[in-house]
């Protein structure tokens, strides 16, 4: 497969709002089941260990006309719930045998209840992750939640999830997360070879592909991209992009940032797929290992309580680790977690003298002129003034 062919495949998967790939996966073996989940963290290993396909649902993006979804939400509520309802009402989610709603915010929380009222025959589960990180307290609670999910998935799939099966799935996802970490590392080192506009599709392909296939896709991309002779370093600013962990920006927005002179060297796009930052141990009790990984190796995100009192720490660490010149806050309109988090992150960046700019989007934003101008000005100012400030 050439790079262009691989990217075309990734793009078709990332834009697969009809879940064609999921339906095909199910058709290949009769009786297969698929469990969807909204953004941020769910224990995909448990779904995989039941022989089911975990499917990330990230709304309809800019490729879906909202006909019925708007009737369910007031104007001041973000777009992802209305497009997700639209997907379901237009039968685009029919390939799913259930849907998980992680505890991101009150919108997604209440959407879980709406789902159970609108689709009473479908499996719905609200995934209540702990905000207490003591193993004997939050860990115990999370273990019980995982036990419930395990039992639910066994019932849906009609199988027993053995510890060995779960250990195997943990290993599969360790490889998948390692591939994504390598992708981010490579992008940070040589963003002109691995631009975010491409990794955007590669990551999103992971929403609908089995993890084994997704890992291979990412690894193949990492091998193929350096072979493109026309990819040369340009005089661009290196930025970290923050705020996209739930409702996704349209691809055009990412392209706009790149055209405005930004190398995106880190971001929180689809952070749920990369939530566990290190490998999960494959020995011992696998549920305990998943609990431990969640408590101690989770990504920092606006939805997760920060007990140490330094909200900006992980963002500043990302800026340092990736030698970024600045931060672009890029959050969906009406996104409580991202927008409430932002003043704390801004304060932390200001204390460190790290430049930043911010704008909002919705998943169907179609006009990028203002964003291009703003990002271009930001990028120019960094390149022009950062050196002067340091000299």
């Amino acid at each position: 497969m050439t790079l262009n062919e691989l990217l075309a495949l990734a793009r078709s998967l990332s834009e697969d709002i009809d879940l064609v790939a999921v339906a095909r996966w199910k058709e290949r073996v009769p009786g297969r089941k698929a469990i969807g989940h909204m953004p941020t963290y769910v224990p995909r290993e448990l779904i995989h260990a039941a022989g089911m396909l975990p499917v990330g649902i990230v709304g309809g993006g800019d490729r879906l006309e909202i006909i019925r979804g708007d009737a369910y939400f007031q104007s001041y509520i973000c777009r992802i719930p209305r497009s997700t309802i639209e997907l379901a009402l237009s039968h685009r989610l029919d390939a799913l045998d259930g849907l998980l709603f992680p505890s991101i915010c009150d919108v997604i929380r209440n959407l879980s209840g709406m789902w159970s009222m609108l689709f009473p025959d479908r499996y719905v589960h609200y995934v209540d992750v702990p905000q207490n990180f003591d193993a004997a307290v939050g860990g115990m609670f999370w273990r019980r939640e995982l036990e419930q999910l395990r039992s639910d998935f066994e019932r849906i799939a009609g199988v027993t999830i053995t510890d060995d099966a779960l250990r195997t799935s943990i290993a599969v996802y360790n490889e998948n997360r390692a591939a994504m970490r390598d992708l981010y590392r490579a992008r940070s080192e040589r963003p002109w070879i691995y631009p975010m506009s491409e990794s955007w599709h590669l990551l999103r392909a992971g929403n609908v592909l089995p993890p084994e296939e997704h890992t291979k896709l990412v690894r193949d991309y990492l091998a193929l991209a350096p072979g493109q002779a026309d990819r040369r370093d340009q005089d661009r600013s290196r930025v970290v992009l923050v705020g996209m962990f739930c409702e996704q920006p349209p691809h055009g927005l990412v392209l706009t940032l790149e055209r405005a002179g930004c190398y995106v060297v880190d971001d929180d796009l689809l952070i749920g797929l990369r939530w566990l930052q290190d490998d999960v141990a494959t020995g011992g009790d696998p549920l305990d290992q998943l609990v431990d990984a969640y408590l101690h190796h989770s990504a920092m995100s606006a939805s997760r309580y920060e007990p140490d009192g330094n909200r900006a720490r992980s963002l500043i660490a990302s800026v340092d680790r990736n030698a970024a010149d600045g931060v672009v806050f890029c959050a969906p309109s009406f996104c409580d977690p991202a927008l409430l988090d932002q003043p704390m992150l801004v304060a932390g960046l200001d204390r460190k003298g790290i430049p930043h700019t911010e704008f909002k989007y919705s998943e169907d934003t179609g006009q990028f002129a203002v964003i291009r101008e703003q990002a271009g000005t930001f990028s120019d100012s960094i390149r022009l003034w950062s050196g002067a400030a340091g000299s």
Binding site: A71, Y72, F73, Q74, Y76, I77, P81, S103, C105, D106, V107, R109, N110, L111, S112, G113, M114, S116, M117, L118, H125, Y126, D128, P130, Q131, N132, D134, A136, V137, G138, M140, F141, R144, E145, A302, S303, Y305, E306, P307, G309, R311, S333, F334, C335, D336, P337, L339, L340, D341, Q342, P343, M344, V346, A347, K360
Partner: protein, 433 residues
């Protein structure tokens, strides 16, 4: 109000006294705990002789006193998004402007932020923001799981109790310098239950026709002491006993609710209301109902601090477990189907003619799903609903003309649906002319 009830004067004194105590807390050597209304642990906090501050109450008081617009603008000037909760911005703006409380007296800095993360995601970010503002103030995090299945699961209760034991109580001990006194807590819980009995009796008096109370606009006053700094205190017991006596007297006299426009003389419509009120135009909002002889007989907002009318009472026999159940059971911690069930029961039990949703921009916990709730309730009960939009404390989001128009149109529609047989009930018991 044109006719001040004794209980209202009593409450006013209690609140003023509390703000006075806060203003002099430093001189008096008292420590202060900031916390939230839903799932508040007032008895536990008070059992350590600590004083609670409830930022939501400060925000709504600022809204009623026309101060919130200025505070919100101040917060937005400091980078807080126009899209997010205005309670938060009102609080942050008040802090930026010197942290002078709604009664004009300064509020002390917190010694502890007790983050009771109950039924509202924004709470988590709110106290993270305050932690950022105040610097070194410790935070006790109490994560209350969501009742997604419509019931309290045993492991959810265990989780909350464990957090009380390992996170909340140790931090309260640390800042107060006192050991946890379980017997003292039990005694306060006994007082809570007594006050809760009288509150429930008062709210359920609205089942009578005509109702002696308004369970939304009047109801927010009735819940004031028990949802805030007074639950578990003798003052709260005294207040609710006084309130009950007043309502009993009104019942005996066949009198209706007392409103800022005076006692209601007719009850034409009995309504159930879902959602918080608007605070910046609270009186104007109430008058719109009063002018149409509409009485609210049950409301969900008055359950954000506990569903006592569904049987919950603080139980001194199991002090930590009862606090856990209290936190888990607050209205905004209920699943949407459970909320629909509750409103349906209210419509039937209180023989309501209609129900109205006041959807507030600030509060996604309340607002997301309300349009679906409206349809579901209409289908189940056959009672038509109305939907209006406003905000908690942002005066920019209260369009009086639009709201009044919507309410009037809705009530006219109810008239047409009910037909000429539906006559307003004169408050003295007969049909009004």
């Amino acid at each position: 109000m044109t006719t001040k009830e004794h209980s209202m004067l009593l409450q006013k004194q209690m609140i003023a006294g509390h703000y006075d105590a806060l203003a002099s807390a430093r001189e008096d050597g008292k420590k202060v705990v900031y916390t939230f209304v839903p799932g508040n642990l007032n008895e536990l906090v008070r059992s350590f002789d600590l004083l609670p501050v409830l930022p939501e109450i400060n925000a709504l008081q600022s809204g009623m006193r026309k101060l919130s617009g200025e505070y919100i603008a101040e917060a937005e000037k400091h980078g807080h998004s126009e899209d997010v909760c205005t309670y938060v911005k009102c609080d942050i703006g008040m802090l930026k402007k010197g942290n002078v409380g709604p009664t004009g007296k300064p509020l002390p800095k917190p010694d502890l932020l007790l983050l009771s993360y109950t039924g509202c995601f924004t709470f988590l970010k709110w106290f993270e923001l305050l932690r950022e503002e105040y610097g070194d103030v410790p935070v006790a995090m109490l994560h209350v799981p969501y009742q997604a299945n419509g019931r309290i699961e045993p492991h959810q209760r265990d989780y909350v109790v464990q957090q009380l034991r390992t996170e909340v109580i140790p931090k309260l001990e640390q800042i107060s310098g006192r050991a946890f006194d379980e017997e003292r807590l039990r005694e306060m819980l006994r007082l809570s239950a007594r006050a809760e009995d009288d509150l429930v009796w008062t709210m359920e008096s609205a089942k009578r026709t005509p109702s002696p109370i308004d369970a939304y606009f009047g109801g927010v006053y009735y819940i004031g002491p028990i949802f805030s700094a007074f639950r578990g205190t003798p003052e709260a017991v005294e207040y609710y006993a006084a309130l009950r006596r007043e309502v009993e007297e009104r019942l005996e006299a066949g009198a209706g609710p007392i409103t800022p426009e005076g006692p209601m003389t007719r009850e034409k419509y009995r309504l159930v209301v879902e959602g918080p009120p608007n605070w910046t135009s609270f009186r104007e909002f109430w008058k719109m109902f009063h002018d149409e002889d509409a009485v609210v007989v049950a409301s969900t907002y008055t359950k954000v601090g506990g569903l006592y009318d569904r049987g919950f009472r603080h139980d001194p026999g199991r002090p930590l477990e009862t606090l856990a159940d209290y936190c888990l059971g607050c209205y905004t911690n209920l699943s949407l189907p459970a909320r629909v069930d509750l409103i349906e029961r209210y419509i039937r039990e209180y023989r309501a003619d209609g129900f109205l949703i006041n959807s507030v921009k600030s509060c996604n916990s309340f607002s997301v799903g309300q349009l679906l709730m409206l349809r579901q309730i209409e289908e189940r009960t056959g009672v038509p609903g109305a939907f209006i939009e406003s905000d908690l404390v942002d005066p920019r989001y209260f369009s009086a003309a639009n709201i009044k128009n919507r309410i009037e149109s809705y009530l006219q529609m109810l008239d047409q649906k009910q037909g000429p047989a539906s006559l307003p009930v004169r408050i003295d018991g007969g049909a009004a002319a």
